[in-house]
């Protein structure tokens, strides 16, 4: 193995380890217990399937025959966060059960036998593994399609950005769905490269598995259809056959959810499917504006994370690329956007989590381009957005007053200086490139500092 390759592998391993440690640090503290009852409900469903072979979970959606109110004091929730009893329904059909089987099954293996003993400390452990694995998949997807540097940038961003890290700890269907979604994109990329049918079938299977985490996983099927449709192949018949194969296989997996519903109670299953389709459209007409400008973790709690905004800016910049590769940047994102807008529902942060890996990949691609072209102006502005928000998330406004003079004078000088260098073409040198890498690294270090200090105390103090 060449030394260069060895260094590349070591760097990926270090970043993966860093991603894991950041996700692991205070994982059972933040998001604090009770932030989302879904975390428990998914696990209750899995646990009841393992213990009683019957899905029992918390819902409250209209259409269930069995409604039971119970005070279940998992994680001491009734003393710190949840007022009133949970509404338990069975058989529970709010979502497909795959994530519940993972977290509830893991909990069962760890000795949990009743809902009251379900703890975040246990059920979030598989999520940490899945989240870290997602970082590796972001790298692989980026590496296959765009090369090492964009992939490593995307991996670094996705591995350390506050919203990705803290969000990935939560037991939410979206966090499970991201894994097969990324796998399906990796496999379809390999299929385009070497035309082996095995990759297409694996991609279709993964898209199907994404649906079994959450029905919005259908975005993975849409992505694959879009990618095949826009692929380089000129053989239309072959494209149609590929799409047909994809739909048949992925919908076989979807049919498992319907068979599951038929097995337990078809009437209730139909009711819940209907209830879900008529849910309150909480994301509202300003959904796209909020998607770009807000970084919600839950319903009402935001984490300051400028990487999301930068990601969307990069998406807009990448829309201008007239290259075949652009489809790998845009199609997965647009597919999930279509499903996000169509499914609507309440304005919870976790519905936006599947955008994050694709935003990171867009950042990786665009940052690499900025570095290669030494585009100081765009690079500096993006860097300042990231560094500014990073500082404000770790230093409160009163403390910041000590540095305000430096900021007041330093920033305009930096911006004007960069503009002058840009117009005089003096910025096209290696120092500019190193300066941009320096800004990027500062942004990453600020992520790490924020996450290192982010615990239950800072959560309740709301200092971010």
């Amino acid at each position: 193995m060449k030394l260069n390759n060895l260094i590349k592998i070591i760097l990926v391993t270090i970043l993966l380890l860093l991603s894991f440690l950041l996700r692991y640090k205070n994982f059972s503290q933040v998001p604090v217990a009770g932030t989302s009852v879904d975390e428990y409900s998914y696990s209750y469903v899995g646990l009841s399937l393992f213990k009683d072979h019957y899905p029992v979970g918390v819902s409250g959606i209209d259409g269930y025959k069995n409604n039971e109110q119970r005070y279940v004091n998992s994680d001491d929730l009734l003393h710190i966060a949840v007022s009133g009893p949970f509404v338990f329904n069975y058989p529970w059909f709010d979502h497909p059960p795959l994530l519940g089987l993972i977290t509830g099954g893991y909990s069962y293996l760890k000795g949990t036998r009743n809902f009251e003993d379900v703890q975040l400390h246990i059920i979030r452990q598989p999520m940490i593994i899945l989240g870290t694995f997602g970082v590796l998949l972001v790298f692989l997807f980026g590496y296959i399609n765009f090369g090492y540097i964009p992939a490593i940038i995307a991996m670094t961003v996705y591995g350390t950005a506050p919203l990705s890290v803290v969000g990935s700890r939560m037991v939410q269907g979206e966090n499970g769905m991201i894994i097969p979604y990324l796998f399906s994109l990796i496999f379809i990329s390999l299929y385009f490269k070497n035309k082996k049918n095995t990759w297409l079938i694996l991609a279709a299977c993964m898209a199907g598995i994404a649906i079994l985490f959450k029905l919005s996983g259908i975005a993975a099927v849409l992505s694959l259809i879009g990618l095949i449709f826009l692929s380089n192949s000129k053989n239309k018949r072959e494209k149609i056959l590929d799409i047909f194969t994809l739909i048949i296989i992925s919908f076989l997996f979807l049919s498992l959810f319907f068979i599951y519903g038929y097995y337990f109670d078809w009437e209730v299953f139909k009711n819940i499917l209907f209830s879900n389709s008529n849910r309150f459209y909480g994301i509202g007409a300003n959904s796209i504006f909020n998607l770009i400008t807000q970084t919600k973790l839950t319903g009402g709690i935001n984490i300051i994370d400028a990487w999301v905004l930068i990601g969307w800016i990069c998406v807009f910049l990448n829309l201008n690329i007239k290259k075949y590769k652009q489809i790998f940047l845009i199609i997965p994102l647009i597919s999930y956007l279509v499903i996000y807008i169509f499914f609507g529902s309440y304005s919870y942060g976790w519905y936006t989590f599947p955008f994050l890996p694709f935003l990171a990949i867009n950042i990786g691609y665009q940052f690499n381009k900025i570095l290669r072209k030494k585009n100081m102006v765009i690079g500096l502005l993006m860097g300042l957005i990231i560094i500014g928000s990073g500082i404000s998330s770790i230093v409160n406004i009163d403390k910041f007053q000590d540095y305000s003079k430096m900021w007041r004078i330093g920033l305009p000088v930096l911006i004007i200086g960069t503009l002058i260098f840009n117009y005089t073409k003096l910025d096209k040198n290696k120092i500019s490139k190193y300066f941009l890498i320096f800004l990027f690294l500062i942004g990453i270090i600020l992520n790490i500092i924020f996450l290192k200090n982010f615990n239950a105390d800072t959560w309740y103090a709301k200092i971010w």
């Binding site: 009683d52 072979h53 039971e68 279940v72 003393h79 007022s83 009251e116 048949i248």
Partner: protein
């Protein structure tokens, strides 16, 4: 093209064959799903401690409306646990059920020397019905009911 269609056909057949086998096994091995009723064992486990005043239930039950009961424990002059429970969860809406449930949630066994009062009157019959919006007070031997309601008495 033909080989792809043939492959898909075999894939679908094997897939549903496996599902069918799974269905048969589930039907034979698992409980009668048509008659499933939830059970206490699935929800709770008993944790028993002796201190009634270590924990307090958070907030007011959201969906209960006025169908709730206040239940307070006074361990000494400085230590108490004040709780509000939804009455929707009870089949038997009596004092014993309410006390049993709060003991389970707050993980303690109520000691025998505690005296309980319903709306300020001592409870002799724990099977007596509770009334929505009212209060049960349970006091350790160190506390008198007049200590709690002294402001109201004044």
């Amino acid at each position: 093209m033909k080989s792809r269609i043939r492959f898909l056909f075999i894939f679908v057949v094997i897939f549903y064959l496996l599902v069918f086998i799974g269905w048969i096994i589930a039907n034979k091995k698992f409980i009668n799903r048509k008659e499933y009723v939830s059970n206490e064992e699935l929800f709770f486990e008993k944790h028993i401690k002796n201190d009634a005043c270590t924990k307090t239930i958070y907030g007011e039950p959201l969906r209960a409306g006025n169908n709730l009961i206040r239940i307070n424990f006074y361990c000494d002059k400085n230590r108490s646990s004040k709780n509000i429970l939804s009455l929707n969860i009870f089949q038997n809406k009596n004092v014993a059920s309410v006390i049993e449930e709060i003991c389970r949630i707050n993980n303690f066994k109520l000691e025998d020397n505690f005296k309980c009062y319903f709306e300020g009157k001592i409870i002799n019959n724990f099977k007596q019905e509770v009334i929505s919006g009212k209060t049960i007070d349970c006091l350790s031997p160190n506390i008198k009911i007049s200590d709690i309601y002294k402001d109201e008495i004044k």
